[in-house]
Structure formats: C-alpha cells, structure tokens
Symmetry: C2
Subunit: 302 residues, 2 copies
Amino acid sequence: MPRSESPPPHKRARQSSSAEHENGLSLPPLSLSILGVEPLDEFIKEIADWVHYTIVNRPPDLQGKIEVEAKVGLLRDRSSGQRLMLPVLVETIIAPDSIDLRFESNMSLQQHKHFNTRLNELKTASTQPSFPSTPLEYSHLYLLDSFYPTDNPHDKDKIRVTRNEKTGTVLECMRKIRLGDLNIFSPKRAADWRVSVNLEVPVSHPVGTPTHTRKKDRLSYSHEEFSIDLTQVTASTSPGSPPKLLHELEIEIARPALLLATAAKRGDPSVPELERSAFDELIRAFVNNARILVRNASEGWQ
Amino acid sequence: MPRSESPPPHKRARQSSSAEHENGLSLPPLSLSILGVEPLDEFIKEIADWVHYTIVNRPPDLQGKIEVEAKVGLLRDRSSGQRLMLPVLVETIIAPDSIDLRFESNMSLQQHKHFNTRLNELKTASTQPSFPSTPLEYSHLYLLDSFYPTDNPHDKDKIRVTRNEKTGTVLECMRKIRLGDLNIFSPKRAADWRVSVNLEVPVSHPVGTPTHTRKKDRLSYSHEEFSIDLTQVTASTSPGSPPKLLHELEIEIARPALLLATAAKRGDPSVPELERSAFDELIRAFVNNARILVRNASEGWQ
C-alpha cells in the first residue's frame, strides 16, 4: 500500500510536438515510481540509524558534546597499505569489523588547493541572489593542539588542549572519546570517507608535558547547520623526528545540542511530523554535503 | 560552482514555537546541500550509463526489439550455491566478471502470493483520486513458450515460440540475444536483483521438435512505461524428468521504440533539456520501481 504521507503527484510538465506524440517517441509525464514517490534512500537511512543508535547508546555517566563528523580520505588495507578494493561499482558502506583497514585522513597539497579554490568560488557564488541556498560564511583559524596522556595508562583517549596559536589563549580543554566509525568506500571517486561519532568531555587543564602537538592552519566554512573545515596540519611527534604535513577535510554538524534534541524526537509519534523527521533531515543534508565533497576530490562541483 | 540548472531553493517550511527557537533546539529550514540541490544518485547514474552503453553498442547488423528488464531473485556463489555475501551494509552494484556467481530468477510460493496480494492492493489503491500516481492496469495471461535450437550449433541463443496456451495462437517467434547483465546485491533485503539488456530478433517459425517448454501463468500489471510480470512457470526439460515450478518477478520497460528514441537524444546539446534528460528519467523510474519491488520481498510497501 502507498505510504500514508505521500506528497502530491510528482510528474514533469512536458511539452512536445504533436508529431512526436503521434510517433509515441516522446516520454509522457512520468511518476517517480508505482507508489508515486521516491523510494527511501537506503544509504542515508543506514547512516541515520547508525548515528542515532550510537548517540542514544552513549556512555550515560559522561557529560560532554556529541561530535558527528565526516572526514574525506582513503581507506587502506592494513597489511598491504593499498587503497581498499571491493568488487562493486558504486559508493557503499563497509560492514563494521569485516575488513582489517585503517582510514587515512589526508590528501595531496594539490587536492587541498583544489578544495580551497572550489569552496571559495562557492562562497562567492552563494552570496548571489540567484543561488539556490544560504550564503556560506568563512573564517581563517590558527590553532595549536597539545595532547596529554590521561591518568589511566590503559586509556587510549587523550586530553587535548586547543590554543589560539597567535595569542596563546586556551580555547578548549577536553578528552575526546571515540564512540564509533562507519567507513564509506567510493570506488568511482578519488577519495573515500568516514563518519565518526565522538564524545568531547571538558576536563581541567592537565599538568606535565604534551606527548605531541598539531599546528592547524584551518579554513573554516560554515553553511546552515554544518562546518566544513579544510585544514593544513603540521604534526610534531617526537623531538628528534621532523614535523609531518597533513591536509584534512571534514564536515561536522555544528550544534551538538540541536543534534541531541532532534535525535530524542526521532520517530516519536507524540510530536508533530516536522519534529519527528528533523533528525533524518539533518543527517540527509550532512550525507549530501559529504558526498558532494568526496565527488569533488578531483573535479568541479557535481 | 553550482550547477547551471539548479532548481529554486528546496527548504522545508517550518513552524515552531518561539521558545524552541530561543533554545536553538528546533531545526530551521535546511537546504538539501551546500549547493542547494540533491547530489546526483550515483547508483541510478551507473545503471543508466551501463544500459545506454549496452544499447548504443548493440550489434549493428541485427534488427530487433531492445528489452530492458530487472528480475528479482538471488545472487548465488557458483561453487557453494550459497547466497552472495559481501562485507557491505547497503545495496550495491557488483563489478561485472569480478565474482563467479549466478542469478536465480525464482522466489518461494509464499513470496509470490505476497507480491500478488500487494500488487492487487496497489492496483485498487491506485484507482482512488488521492493516489499520487497513475492507476495500474492488470491482465492475466496464459502462455506457452517452446524453445528450439538455432541453426548454428555453437550459438548459445535459442529460438523461442510463444503461444496463447488456451487458443494455441502463435504470439511471438524470436531469437533472444543477451547483450549484458548487471547484478545488484541487496544485503538488507530478502532478494537481490539483476538488470538485463536483450535483443529480441523476430525469426520465422522453426521446424523440428522443441528442446524444452515453459508454461507461464502470468499476472501482468502495467504502470505508465513499465510492465510488472509476476509469473508462475512450469518448466519441462526432458521427457523423463518431472516439471519444475518457478516463481518469477520482473519489471520491463514497455516500449522499446521509446527507449531507443530517448537513448539517442541522451545528453544531446542540440535538443531541449526535457528530451535530453528523458532517458535518465525513464531509467530513474525503472530503478525506483525495481527497488520498491525488492524491498517488498518480505514486507509491506516501503
């Protein structure tokens, strides 16, 4: 049976010559499907279900900010170091723990420049009245992250202190707890991507010496509920070794409180439909944006 | 840069209380993406590209009808006979010739009944004024296919003679030439599917004895440019062995001439946009319908 909340018929208005109609060679207005609607996007729903599950089942004893982000990079086979290969033709979600792989959040300097150019063009275009969406905002941040071990030596999480690199002001001091990752393989594109859910718990400033630092030269674009960060990272690991240069691109849901509020009402029959579906709408735009970024890892916007 | 033919802004009209807005916990109208549009569906485009390539590169010396169909069934590993398993969470297209598999165009009697019930319900619902699409039509066909070898003993293609089983009238006499298959793995569903492109070349009635026959009790639903055939097949192979009962479900593009006309104009800059995009629109509805059928292999319409 058709879904109860089907929108009105979606058919294209078509104009064609009577000769074409007589030949029967012109496509008449076509419904989206036998149900009159687009079928649900299985890919977006899977990501929404997973993010929702991960948020709802977060450790109840820890208070902090939920971070949902997508990073652009490469999935690599852990033993060979080669980019993941699977016998499929289109973007798909890898089953967790099924393949021994790692995600490399990095790109070439050329790709970084390419994204910078494209995002700047988009920012300019987005201020035109004809642009079909909201203008992008932009800021340039210079940050210094210092990492400290936690009190528990078995704990893989680290404490991160973020400073304004120019002024030295401490902006954030927190422990980042990884709640889960979902890897997306994109065989048609120059890059793969990973969705991560983290919990950022505020802590007091640690004492002692940082184990390593990351200097971040960040171009931060914001659009509606999302931040898109294009970052050049200079990572120093140990005093002896030379610093490592990385180029990262990530998109993040900007307001954790909004994310939690929409997650709490997801599918709740006691709230109006708009509130019930807000979480899925937020994730849909998040996935759309991540897809657009990945598809432009080597081309113009598409 | 945004696409030149972007539609106007897609944002939801939202109403919410001022208290919610003050808390910042209500989702404001959201664009579909930073570009203001949905990104292209990579899956549908891949199928459209493949069907188009297969049609355009068909054998130029053979005149016949192009058949594009999607069958619902199971992808099976050829050696183990088990259903294909891949470490992915969502529907994806298998790279051709990458895995040694076969497609089984069959389902259980229960699934067949389930589809029959659902399609009948949909047919009834589709006649209501509130239904968001065109009414479905329905016919019940009793057919008998007889298969004959071709003159060339190295030729895998067979000649098929189709008769009205009740009257014995010959309806069709043709050689079906397989141009290509694309297999779709659907890990979340009870069934996989396969898109096939065939060329049906009319031939004169063969002489001699058929190698085997297929009796088809077919419920044929039609909707706009598509036929959906739910068929109970009684296949007889050799005189000694008992007949085999199969249950098939397939969706087919109903008008080969229209398909070819739209394929010829695909992406042609000299024709109006509506004609240029008609092929992709036809394939989009075809894929949407196939997805809806596969997703309902064990559930209600979704």
